[in-house]
């Protein structure tokens, strides 16, 4: 639920702000995959697609997690997005970023922790207990009986 909340709010803020773009963030990429992220940032059409895909993806993943439906698919999708964020700004010594970090990290940062939380959700879906899927399971159980 909290992970979903975070995803949904991040997504909606981006969707409701037409001026939002990931360009500056991508241009600040570092590490082994930074060329790939620079490449995205330098292509206007691709960047626009990536921005929309990201904002919509965040919102849907967040919505599913909050509602408690399709949470395994949402967990995989969310982990994919988080992995991209992680790879664009890996917290390794010697890689300097323009944007200041909100803490001190070595390999493990908040993105990685949230990614692990999604892995837990995938394996132990909370939606069976909390969320709309509980109704579905109830219905199935009733039907089975």
């Amino acid at each position: 639920m909290t992970v979903g909340w975070h995803f949904l709010y991040e997504g909606l803020v981006k969707l409701t702000n037409p001026a939002w773009s990931s360009k500056a963030y991508l241009l600040d990429s570092g590490g082994w995959f930074s060329d790939f992220f620079f490449w995205i940032a330098h292509h206007a059409a691709l960047l626009k697609f990536v921005d929309q895909f990201n904002a919509l993806g965040l919102s849907l993943i967040g919505l599913f997690l909050v509602l408690g439906i399709f949470s395994r698919i949402a967990a995989v999708g969310g982990a994919f997005l988080l992995a991209l964020y992680y790879l664009s700004h890996p917290p390794f010594p010697g890689i300097e970023y323009f944007f200041p970090s909100d803490g001190s990290y070595f390999i493990v940062n908040k993105i990685l922790v949230e990614l692990m939380a999604l892995a837990v959700i995938y394996h132990l879906p909370a939606e069976n207990r909390i969320g709309l899927r509980r109704f579905v399971l109830l219905k199935k159980k009733d039907d089975a009986e």
Partner: protein, 520 residues
Amino acid sequence: MQNNNEKGKGMSRRDLLAGMAALPVLGAIGYGLLKQNSLDAQKNEAGLNDIDLAGSVSTPVQVPGKEIRIGIVGCGSRGAYLMKALGFVHPDRVDDWNKRGKDDPYWKQYLDDFRTQENLNVKIVAICDVFEKNAERAIKTGANSHRNGQDGPMGEAPRRYATYHELVAAPDVDAVIIATPDHLHVPVALEAARSNKHIYCEKPLSWTVEETYEIRNVVKNQGIVFQLGHQGRQTESYQVARALVEKNVLGKVSLIEVCTNRNDPNGAWVYDIDPAANEQTIDWEQFIGPAPWHPFSLERFFRWRCWWDYSTGLSGDLFTHEYDAMNQIFNLGIPHSAVASGGIYFYKDGRTVPDVLNMAFEYPNRDLTLLYSASLSSEKNRGKAIMGHDAWLELGENLTVFADPRSTQYKEYFDKGLLEPGKAMFSYVPGQGKVDAITTPTEKYFAGRGLLYTYRDGKALDTTHLHLLEWLNCIRKANGSQPSCNIDRAFEEAITAHLGTISYQQGRRVYWDSDKEQII
């Protein structure tokens, strides 16, 4: 599920609560978003967001017409830059960019940008330079009308003229670009104007006060199209600053501070001396022109900006950029008085022009002072600052406005919490066409440091290209229209710079008598 479903079958209250747990969460998120949006909307109502400045920024669109035949006098580094802005570079440079671009996306983009730069429908038909090597390169550059490397086909090569007198007299030259040292600007421009050639002249307009009057009269009498090379006229952020000043966003402005901060030999005009240069390959007499005679000197030839004999010093060379930006924003005109001080404090290399210069120009009719301070031995970035009672504006290629904590105009907004005193209230990022209130952490971070990330991706248009386009458009319109940095603006620029220089040289306050148009 058995444990959770206490009655074993059907839906319990616990099931309902757990199932609908998302509702309060969605409600909270919705509340958060609405709250944020309503704050933004309030800022809009306050007129602080979305000041639509699209109309303030003008990008010239090419006026159709016949090909314009251009002659270039002075084909050194600035001359080569101007040719590039026209769409012509030496094929070696294209090959070089191509080679670099294979490993470095910056150069690939650079070459792509050059190749896709708008074709201005001009032909370089004539060139003139007193240095053999520059002239030879300019011939090859002018011939490269297809923007190719050495392997590609070339167009017709321009003719080389030994003297500018012959070039400006050539009947197939419609317009002349002047990129000579300062002391030759007016001599070349005068002859060109008298031969009815349109003129694009590098800044500053003039080297002496007297010739400034003469060139203005001749340009006006001949009715040619004249543009002074202050390409900052095309800088979006200056145009936006002008609109903000007109909308009284800053309140009453009584102090403007502009600066030059350089700290490398190149920035201090200590340029490399080309090994191909000698008395045989340089027409020294033509270089000297109206300047006092001096025996041949490679140092003086390449580093001419260091001597009053050919240069206008910091005031004419670098202050004029800053002045013209402010003249564009405020229509300042010529100041009532100037006082200057400085000295040769760092580059004790035999130069006669100062490397530190401070100048104060008074505009009592406008209730403001224009302050200039220059150092050639420190790069501490002191940007342009326009200081108003209600807000101050920091200006570079982008622009940031900070609300003054003691502002009268914004007091109400401070009280309501819509503005933070002393904090950035607007930023303008070139290319967006509007001013946004700074809302995201990203914007705050970049704006606070004046970083120009939108210009880093090479999408920005070359202002020199736009400045030339504006000039060519006026020539094609042939209806008497003049470009933005016309001879009147050029006259104001030159006289203002001379006031500062005379004050520095004579160690006294210098006045401008606007009725008699005289320096006293």
